[in-house]
């Protein structure tokens, strides 16, 4: 042992010298080198700009070099600390200089959370597959240009990668733009695909509410040239099936139409070039009262007060098929072709939703706007209601909206989507469009709700599937345990044991109770001499002797009878 220790001490000495040399070299360079770019004379004349870039490049190269030097020092210091750590005990220094944490807005999933999460994702995939979805996956980052111009005001939330030479990359912001890129790149004109993956937004995290910077999206999209509202209605049906199967409480699916919104803006006197920005303001109605949104429209976005008030009248409305009829008869709206088209689409959508048994689940809601630029038709959002609140009945017409005080508290949007017929065309060299409609499930919020519920109930989920634990009754049996384990594993039985040579029987049995493992095989010399092992049920503590060669089959038999 002392040899090893001496060797490590020697390595530490050498590594320490290296770090000191590097630091000294850095300092002497800083003293002698001119501060970068300092000698460049100033002149704005365009003809000289080319030449001026030369020293700038030199400066950049110098900075790059300094950067690399610092990086090398960091690396070597870390290595030194690692060496010191191998000595362990008192000799180990405080080698952790930064707070141990995950990046802002992100979190780890431990076994409990993963079990919960996997259960939710499995149920969602089941629904996607029930509707014929095929899976695809795309890289976590894209060429930055792919994301440019797709997200409107939200584009500032995109994570960029550092320029380390080569392509300029950004982390995906959603799964919709990568899908559009995939379809255009591979010239696919129809697909029904689902995609479950993490997306990234440099937003202000609110982790208790399930708002993260890294979060899962579960998307289902139908691409292809089809007849109106048939794929759209199926997406709404998928949202309802998922929220039903997850059993997370009462919900409503709000529906609206971008063409109707545009038509309404036009009817209210909003200039055409302000449609998108006014739409962004309306989108905030789920979080802010109308007074604030009106203020944003008028003060920040320069909308005429009268126009804002006219919008205010419309966005209070929600209801069902009868609201569509009411609006089709509205003098201002029926003069605008876009509005009429949107309303006719809504009428058809509501009819299909009715066939799908969703009358009590959907609500045509003129305050629904959705933030993203790329929607062109139907938009929808699944919203959880507070536990005590009941779902607003779409049969009653013209309910008050937008006035938050009158509304039951909601835990927020858990699904959203809509039609985007032009996004794929933006990627196609000849602008060839592939009409798409899709939905994205906000599973993080669903996890949050279910985690809070699990925490409140105090229920602990099983986090492993182990069926049998192989235990030693006394010392000296570890090789026998390995033989039995090998036999079980080869028969496909999920089995584990203590990784100690001579664990105490009580400790082994306690492990089984804590981890809810149903069966234990207890090995002892007396039984082994006869080719037998004890099979014990953990809950009943009932024990039976079983022949070693029958063990796997006996375990299978018990599982089937207990299932």
């Amino acid at each position: 042992m002392s040899d090893t220790r001496e060797q490590i001490l020697e390595q530490i000495k050498v590594q320490g010298d290296l770090v000191r040399q590097l630091k000294a070299a850095k300092e002497s360079k800083e003293k002698t080198a001119p501060s970068g770019g300092g000698r460049v004379s100033s002149s704005g004349a365009p003809a000289q700009r080319q030449q001026q870039q030369q020293p700038q490049k030199q400066q950049q190269a110098q900075e790059q070099q300094q950067h690399e030097q610092l990086h090398q020092i960091d690396e070597e210091v870390a290595r030194l600390l690692a060496l010191k750590a191998t000595l362990g005990g008192d000799a180990a220094p405080t080698n952790q200089k930064f707070t141990l944490k995950t990046p802002k807005g992100t979190r780890d999933y431990g076994p409990q959370q993963m079990t919960l999460r996997q259960g939710v994702l499995d149920k969602i995939v089941q629904v996607f597959k029930r509707h014929g979805g095929e899976a695809i996956d795309t890289p976590v980052f894209e060429l930055k240009e792919v994301l440019t111009g797709k997200y409107g005001e939200d584009s500032k939330l995109i994570y960029d990668l550092k320029d380390q030479g080569g392509e300029i990359l950004s982390m995906r912001y959603d799964l919709t733009v990568p899908l559009a890129r995939y379809l255009a790149m591979n010239k696919i004109s129809s697909i029904k695909r689902y995609h479950i993956a993490k997306v990234y937004r440099r937003d202000n995290p609110a982790m208790t509410k399930g708002r993260y910077r890294e979060f899962y999206q579960c998307d289902f999209d139908i691409a292809g040239t089809y007849d109106p509202m048939l794929p759209d209605a199926e997406c709404v049906k998928i949202v309802s099936e998922i929220l039903d199967t997850l059993d997370i409480g009462d919900y409503v699916i709000k529906l609206n139409h971008r063409q109707l919104l545009d038509g309404m803006f036009q009817a209210c006197g909003v200039p055409a070039d302000s449609f998108r920005t006014i739409c962004s303001a309306v989108d905030k109605l789920d979080k802010s009262p109308w007074a604030d949104v009106r203020k944003e429209m008028v003060d920040e976005k320069g909308l005429d007060e009268a126009a804002a008030d006219r919008i205010g009248e419309y966005v209070r409305l929600s209801g069902g098929a009868e609201l569509v009829e009411q609006l089709l008869a509205d003098e201002k709206l029926k003069a605008v072709p876009n509005a009429v088209k949107g309303l006719e689409g809504m009428k058809q959508l509501l009819k299909y939703c009715s066939i799908f048994g969703l009358d009590k689940r959907v609500s045509f809601d003129l305050s629904l706007a959705r933030g993203l630029d790329y929607y062109t038709g139907v938009i929808y959002e699944g919203v959880l209601k507070g536990e005590s609140a009941t779902v607003a009945s779409p049969a009653k017409t013209s309910q008050q909206n937008g006035e938050q005080a009158n509304e039951p508290a909601t835990v927020g949007s858990v699904a959203g989507g809509g039609r985007y017929d032009n996004l794929v065309g933006m990627f196609d060299p000849r602008g060839k469009a592939v009409p798409c409609v899709g939905v994205s499930i906000g599973v993080e919020r669903i996890f949050s709700v279910l985690e809070a519920r699990a925490a409140a109930s105090g229920l602990k989920l099983r986090t492993s599937d182990v069926e049998v634990y192989v235990a030693s009754a006394h010392k000296g049996l570890h090789e026998q345990r390995l033989k039995v384990l090998n036999l079980l594993w080869d028969a496909g039985v999920k089995a584990e044991h203590s990784y100690k040579l001579n664990p105490k029987l009580l400790v082994q049995l306690q492990h089984c109770e804590e981890h809810q493992i149903p069966l234990v095989v207890v090995l002892g010399d007396a039984e082994l001499a006869q080719g037998l092992v004890k099979l014990r049920e953990v809950t009943t503590r009932e024990e039976t002797n079983v022949k070693l060669e029958d063990l796997a089959a006996e375990i299978r038999r018990r599982q089937q009878s207990s299932a």
Copy 2:
């Protein structure tokens, strides 16, 4: 329609003006602004350095502003192009200015690849669960400091995120360092966890061989203070179970021990501070012949020629338990405590592997080094053999190694891992160690092998699970289709239909044949009037009339009888 078009044209005009204004503003600024930092006088005196940073900061702020300006212009141009695209047809410009591709070294997975991939991952998870693994997940990026000093020479391959204000982040390089961070942060001293996720390396991609910049790792690790080689041997067993269940051909699991390597280097006369760098050179023996590796040791790493030649003698050796005995008797090695300890560990490991039935699968191989710095004990690597090559029998002693010409061609490493007892301690403020051993499955290479095989066989995998297609025999039945679909979905049947109002029957039946959908429900007025539908088997074309209320049950019955 003309109204909408006119509106869009108006929006295009406005947006075009905005872009022109922004561009003009940028140009006029460039003409009048001084070129950044140009007026700073040069002086290296330390006392003045502080003040010089002021203008540099100004320059940075200016550059930042210019950057944002450019970003805004890009955004607005993209929006303009998007508007133009909505006009469609001839009016749509060539709006794709960059090559449509995924970032270098990455790829999309289409439905065929996803089906293959999901099958592989499911099998791997099954093995992990058979050994009692619990799942965890960590964020795709970490604080940069978490990764610093962990990867030795490979740290240059780490992807960094751009500094957008806030924390400095890097993409994870493997799943091992995040696990160590997770254990230290949560003060977990024992866990058996698996983690399946993508990792990122700015390496030179070789995509046909399955070497990507974004790729999946499937890791299984056992953390905790246990008796020697019990968890280690189980990791080797897991590798063999996975490679067996995936059925990708003949393989060998090479074993070695870092303590033995260090002892061997010491015995050969390598200075202690060169152990890691010489180890990196040995690691290249799977790709380069001994002559090249020797050259690297002597020419680049300054090793004594005689020492290199002594190493050359050892790294040619591979075998089984008898090779351990031979080396325990080796004069040079038995004088070095580290070497003896490593050999004793190998002896125990080989014994456990033998109990697990792995005699023909494992090979003690002195040329195996593994690149990463953090290993402290056993290391192993699962290597696929070329189709025509047979696995080297570990029963035969002292085979020639390192001389590539004599070796059968291998398609490379598909699994690797080892023991790392100090990594968690590097994150703990008091250096508290948690011993760990683990294995990582290189699934991308496995996908590559299986994809090539699938392509060669011409077999097409089913990419959706649809059980029933609902078809119209004639016009005007789309609402009836929706009713039948709703009934099937609510009963949990996987069903789809055409999203056309009036699709041709032949087209619908062809869709079923192409997509291998086993059953079709054919709706027609005559049958519907009697509450009946036709149920047709796609392969046999056999048709039966079924009552609508019995349909779901009848489909379930047929599935069970055909399964």
